[in-house]
Assembly symmetry: C2
Homo-oligomer: 148 residues x 2
């Protein structure tokens, strides 16, 4: 979206990056909806919990990993709890805090979502990248993330 020099690559790359991201997310969420599955955000939360040691994480940590504001995550977690995909457990060391723990149903839901999600990633994104390009993307973006 930015401005001038529409032909200078340096200026074109950011708008393309933005457009690509939003169109891909749009498509993936559509696919999940069509399959009557929960949205992308749920997958992220479930997957972070599944990977975590003891399949549990403090709200704070979880929020950081999925890039959500704290209050936002509180309510997203409420919804997941209501859906039976995770539960909260008080934290023994720090009585202010609590853990989110993924349930069996949560594990299963994530597993059900994966084929649909994965197919979209492959078909819309990954299939357009050869090995060299993949490496370039990873290196460049990792650099950005480290600098943040």
């Amino acid at each position: 979206m930015p401005i001038p020099n529409e032909n200078d690559p340096k200026s074109r790359v950011w708008p393309i990056f933005l457009a690509t991201h939003s169109r891909l997310i749009e498509r993936i969420d559509e696919a999940l909806t069509r399959a009557k599955l929960p949205p992308l955000a749920w997958y992220d939360v479930l997957w972070e919990l599944e990977k975590a040691p003891d399949q549990r994480l403090r709200m704070h940590d979880l929020a950081k990993r999925v890039v959500l504001s704290r209050s936002n995550l509180t309510r997203l977690a409420d919804r997941l709890v209501a859906a039976g995909l995770l539960y909260r457990e008080p934290c023994p060391d720090d009585r202010r805090g609590s853990y989110c723990v993924i349930t069996q149903a949560g594990l299963e839901t994530r597993k059900t979502m994966w084929p649909v999600y994965g197919e979209q990633i492959e078909g819309l994104f990954a299939c357009h990248l050869n090995a060299a390009e993949t490496e370039v993307l990873i290196k460049a973006m990792t650099r950005m993330l480290k600098a943040l």
Copy 2:
């Protein structure tokens, strides 16, 4: 976020792509807020209008360009109108439709936002890409967009 083979580049690139995008957007919006400027979405709309012939676009076209649902755009436009940055004009050819036209104040707001926005793009994103990488990103993402 996806699943297995955390070490296979092909699997790692998508989660990194997602994380990079959300952290960058987060930072840029923070910078705009700090500078007491409107959010990114406003910039997009203003810039699309500024570029457009006669500095006006039909709602429909505008929505597609900024990747927003129609109803969403209606209300975003309402807010921009309320802020005096654009106005609506009935379309003579098609009496169902209307144009969004950017105002002088809209042009100025966009111009005020650019230094802050541009600085963030450069400092968080573009500065991490050399010429070759920039080309790779553009080519790969353009390919994805075309296929959508």
